[in-house]
Amino acid sequence: MSEVPVIDTEHLQKVYSAGGTPLVALADVTLRVQKGEFVAVVGASGSGKSTFMNLIGLLDRPTSGVLRLDGVDVARLTPNQRAVVRNRKIGFVFQGFNLLRRTSALENVELPLLYAGVPARVRTDAAKQALTQVGLGERMGHMPNELSGGQQQRVAIARALVNQPALLLADEPTGNLDSTTTREILTLFVDLNVNHGITVVMVTHELDVAAVSRRVVQFKDGHLVMDGPPPPEWTPAVPAPWHVAKTSEVA
């Protein structure tokens, strides 16, 4: 089956040269992610996970290599076209939340819709729905500094989901959440993946979170060192349809 991959990178490289000695954050990454995949990205701190996410999220530009999204070489896109892709196609959950200060949770979530030109009424309804989805239905009027770390993270997730992206990129989306909330969010991701066909790429440090995915890629010093299904000894935090299939195979 030769479907066009959602993400297709060839020898992707990112070198930071600011401040003297050049630092190779991403050495040579060639990776394909097909539509509907659920990928976990793991690796030690500083191994280049966030760098990789920023590149495929069109926030940053590679030093060399090719990046294609849905078959389109993004190097050919104008800044405005990149903005449109970020706005319509990608939902990005940042490692550090990146919420607007002194702006209510609701308005933070509305932000992508604002730039999509969605009318105010529709915007608010969609944002409320997204917040309810992540379990923050009651705190919509609060400012980020009035919310706990976990709640802020859920606002960030709601913002990433609100424009119904085809590709969800999440950099440690459960890093600040307790195990209950982590399970809720992961259940939501699995649901979005299974029932809405959204492709998920998720960075995580936790093995049980990574184990929820169908495919784990591991980074080490900017290289891709492992790519395959999660090892069977990892216990998934929440069940997913593909686990059942696997268990039944074993049985």
């Binding site: 920023n54 926030l59 405005n80 903005a83 970020r86 706005n87 990146n98 919420l99 992508p112 730039y115």
Partner: protein, 407 residues
């Protein structure tokens, strides 16, 4: 983003730091306020000048002996003795484009009525004066040619003199003494207010020119200090001037090369001089306002630059979720414009208030023109666009990842 959303966003950001916003717009407030106040005052002054020039009488020509500088009419005539009563007679005879000609000699005198006495300006002139200067009596009558011919000792009082000597009593047919000579009051002039030179035109007493020559002028009875002529109409004012000049030059035996030993001015000259003063005032005030607006604009630019730097992460977040650089540009531009428009609005308000206070305190007329206010407001908005553009463009040119990483 639609206009309403942009406006709401800008107002919210501005209201987060009210103190800074107020300091930022101070320059604009002062600039616009100064424009409004000064234009209000200037328009009032212009109207005053126009009114006062009109009060000089239409088609007026003023003759003063001696030379005057080009800028305008020299006040306090009588220092030169180059024009005499025979000149006046000759002008009356020979110049066809004037209808009236009134000599006007004056001196400061003490006028006494019973116990009251008052120092005032005594003016000896002919009945033509009332026509030429368009001065009219409120009560009683002006003096007549008969009074001139019979040397009747009658006088017409200015409003100020009448009030000083007789209070609220009717001065008509009362007697006053000037230099020990008794005069019968036959009229009181209607109030003329201040002259263009700022003196009280109502502080005067008029007597027949013949009586003045005989009883008041001493040895200088043939000298003329000033004369007022009326041209046939406004169009012939220049012709009248030329004719009068020719007659006087001939009578004074002046060579071609010699300067006039008298000066003739018409209303157009006086109006032009006043307008010149008003114009240079406007220019001065205009440049003050311009400098204030420039300084105000730089203040806005500075604040916007600081704001862009402070909000780099915000810009990064907006770019990350799909804002185009034009969205960022417009957002910051609207903020700058709203900021300076707020300054403009406050400036209009304060300028208007200042003009009111000034006119209450000094009695100057001020004219508040809504069109000027609208224009000043629009200019303040334009200042926002102009000085907000560079900071806004800096914001718009940020790279998403750099902006997001900004500490």
């Amino acid at each position: 983003m639609n206009a309403f959303t942009l406006l709401r966003l800008a107002l919210r950001v501005i209201s987060r730091n009210k103190a800074r916003a107020m300091l930022t717009v101070l320059g604009i407030v002062i600039g616009v306020g100064a424009v409004i106040a000064m234009v209000a005052l200037g328009a009032g002054a212009q109207q005053n000048i126009a009114k006062q020039i009109a009060s000089l009488g239409s088609n007026l020509i003023i003759l003063i002996p001696g030379t005057t500088n080009v800028a305008g009419v020299r006040g306090g005539g009588g220092s030169s003795t180059t024009v005499d009563v025979d000149d006046i007679d000759a002008l009356r005879r020979e110049v066809k484009s004037i209808t009236h000609l009134a000599p006007a000699n004056r001196q400061q005198v003490q006028i006494v009525a019973g116990d009251a006495n008052w120092s005032t300006n005594l003016l000896g002139t002919t009945p033509a004066f009332y026509v030429v200067r368009d001065w009219r009596t409120d009560t009683g009558t002006e003096h007549s040619e008969l009074d001139e011919a019979s040397h009747n000792k009658v006088c017409v009082l200015g409003r100020t003199v009448a009030t000083q000597l007789f209070g609220t009593d009717d001065p008509i047919d009362q007697w006053v003494r000037i230099k020990k000579v008794p005069f019968r009051v036959i009229g009181v002039l209607s109030s003329k207010g201040q002259s263009p030179m700022g003196t009280d035109q109502d502080d005067t007493v008029l007597i027949p020119f013949s009586v003045y020559r005989q009883r008041m002028a001493g040895t200088q009875r043939d000298q003329i200090q000033a004369a007022y002529a009326a041209a046939v109409d406004a169009n012939s004012s220049q012709a009248a001037l030329d004719e009068m000049t020719a007659v006087l030059r001939q009578r004074h035996h002046l060579r071609e090369s010699a300067d006039d030993d008298f000066s003739l001015r018409n209303l157009a000259d006086i109006a032009a001089a006043s307008r010149e003063v008003a114009d240079s005032m406007t220019l001065l005030l205009g440049s003050i306002a311009g400098v204030s607006l420039l300084v105000g604009g730089i203040g806005i630019m500075n604040t916007m630059l600081v704001s862009v730097t402070e909000r780099t992460r915000e810009i990064g977040i907006r770019l990350a979720v799909g804002a185009k650089s034009s969205d960022i540009l417009v957002q910051f531009l609207v903020e700058a414009v709203v900021l300076s428009a707020i300054g403009g609005a406050i400036g209009v308000f304060f300028g208007w208030g200042a003009a009111q206070l000034l006119s209450d305190a000094t009695g100057w007329v001020t004219i508040f023109d809504p069109a000027v206010a609208a224009l000043a407001f629009a200019v303040s908005g334009a200042v926002g666009v102009f000085f907000g553009f560079w900071p806004a463009r800096r914001a718009a040119q940020l790279d998403p990842i750099d902006a997001l990483r900004y500490e």
